[in-house]
Symmetry: C2
Subunit: 139 residues, 2 copies
């Protein structure tokens, strides 16, 4: 069984659908440990880095902040710790997502209302502009 050869930063980025600059940024932010370097000073990554970066990316896709991911990683690294903290973070995050969802739903309704009323005449009687303007401009 041959070991997989180390990956360059470009390989790692491609494998995780990440930009090279972002990988370097995660390293600076200490989400990803600094890897070994080649003779020519290139970063060389192994499968452990791939796993960790995949974790980070998935967390980001799920909308966790970098700080939350840092906490999740610390917990995942400490496998004897209770899972309750992980659950707490996830639940707090879900609550936040649900709040945002409610906001956006309301917003979409308002926008649909506003757009529905527009007869597309001249701006002078555009309902969209009117809806944005302070109520009823009496002059």
């Amino acid at each position: 069984m041959a070991q997989a050869p180390p990956m360059t930063i470009g390989d790692l980025a491609a494998a995780t659908n990440t930009r090279v600059e972002t990988v370097r940024w995660y390293e600076k932010m200490k989400l990803l440990p600094a890897p070994e370097r080649s003779a020519g000073n290139y970063r060389l990554y192994g499968p452990e880095h791939l796993r960790r970066l995949s974790f980070i990316r998935r967390g980001r896709d799920l909308g966790f902040t970098v700080d939350q991911i840092r906490e999740l990683l610390a917990m995942a690294d400490d496998r004897d710790r209770s899972c309750a903290e992980v659950d707490t973070i996830a639940r707090a995050h879900l609550a936040q997502v649900e709040r945002k969802l409610a906001d956006l739903t309301r917003l979409a309704h308002e926008l649909r209302d506003v757009i529905g009323q527009c007869g597309c005449g001249s701006v002078a009687d555009c309902r969209i502009i009117e809806a944005l303007s302070p109520h009823g401009d009496p002059s």
Copy 2:
């Protein structure tokens, strides 16, 4: 009929539920025209500023970007122009909101799934951590 006396930046901010710094920032970003100044170099605002800032704030509440609001303002200022462009911006924005809404809905589902599976034992078999990790780690 007495004219309303000019408002200070604090008054204007209070009347529109905005922070003073934000008002100054809108001025620098050229959303709000620079007002006259008092002898002591205080900004003095009139009802036109109040109207314009209300418009901006309402647009921001509806999730328009500052750039979009700048365009909407330019159109609103030019009252003979066709309303079709306004409609275009609003529709594009709605489409974007709906995309974000779909993403967040999917995300909330995933988070609920992940949280539901957590029996809260030790991290070693935490389903949340597992769900974030790359599929199935065969070793």
